[in-house]
Amino acid sequence: MPRYYTEEHEWIDVDGDIATVGITDFAQGQLGDIVFVEVPDTGAELSQGGDAAVVESVKAASDVYAPVDGTVTEGNGALEEDPALVNSDPEGEGWFFRMALSDKSQLDGLMNAAAYKAFCDDL
């Protein structure tokens, strides 16, 4: 299952036409302690680069953007009870939402793991 990354520090796992989206370990480290996550409602239409979710750390609220176009199929309900999952397992249990992809060709514009690592090293 290929995993892509954005310059906004989201990761996206693609399984057929469905993708799972979260924020990277680098991002959670920058944010610090996560105290609240607002995930999009099922059925919400997302467009690439548009607001998708909000993550709140102790110090600030940050927007999470949609990495590609699509329709939300599921938000991670576990984050409501335990937002700190984003800190402890950002690229696993701490996923934000799943979406049905509208245009898989958009994935070609995203980074792979090696490219994302190089991107972070340059920050």
Binding site: A27, V58, S62, V64
Partner: protein, 380 residues
Amino acid sequence: MTEIEQTGEEAVETETLPLDAWHRAKGGRMVEFAGYWMPIQYEGIMAEHLWTRENAGLFDVSHMGQLHLSGEGLDDALEAVLPGDVKSLAVGRMRYSLLLAEDGGILDDLMLSRWPDGIYMVVNGAVKWEDIGHLREELPDAITINHFEDRALLALQGPKAFDALKRHTTGKWPLDALVFMTGGPFQIGGIDAWISRSGYTGEDGFEISVDADKVQEVADLLCGELEVKPIGLGARDSLRLEAGLPLYGHDLDPTIDPIEGDLGFAIQKRRREEGGFPGAARILGHYANGSPRKRVGLTIDGKLPVREGAKLFDGEREIGVVTSGGFAPSVGAPIAMGYVPRDHAAPGTAIAAEVRGKRVPCTVTAMPFVPHRYVRKQGG
């Protein structure tokens, strides 16, 4: 992913603190604040906050302005620019006070300490240059204002601060001689320091003024104690919010007078009776009859943090605004402070805050959110 709310303010040229390299070596994540590079956190705001409530945290607050005022007629001169009772302030005692504009609006909040040779004043870093300008303008020529730019300021806060500091402190008196809101000259590891028992966390603790070129030695001595860790600005903010203490530039500004800011305690009885401070008519009117709006604490239903700028509603009617807010680690929930009309200021009043278009129920609450643990009696 982009931060929605910017916390820092743009500065002309960001300066470094005397402990800049020390913070970076300790893993401090540096941000611009009040014109300086300052550590927002080391290991994490939550852990640092809780550590301070349980143990002791060392804060570098050297960005704050340390002033010394002296000269003939100093007490009268100061009482003309602030509403505190300066005349009754004995040597070694401290008082919280407010620099007031002509109309009674708050230009800054500050600490006054009586030294044998004058008044030592600590003002907020973000407005210290404006404060100095205001004081030069308003005080008579006979008053000398000395800006201690060559001194650093540390705060050691938490229930174990006393134990950690006492091991390194010598002087004419034992450290036990200090109670809340008193200060005196001591040596820490042989280094001259003015130490006061005061702070901005609601915990017992101390503020330590030392020469900038000796501050690293003092910071190393204190952080060498098992009880002490360096703590960043992030936890300083969440600790003071839980303690119900206002932050200038956020909870207080020149449009707010001391009564609106719920700081009536800073106007002692003699000053209330005699007046004679800027904005006395407005302020004493508000003291007697209540102010149209008041700073209050808010507890928040649910987990969504309500932050600075959120509008407050009673039904469909917009009634006020949140001036500080966030997740409170020791409370385990979001809290906030803000301004509401007088008829909504009673604890228990149910209102709502608007966050991203959603209404979040909240309740006006007496502050502090976490009880103060100041040591007011000797031997404590």
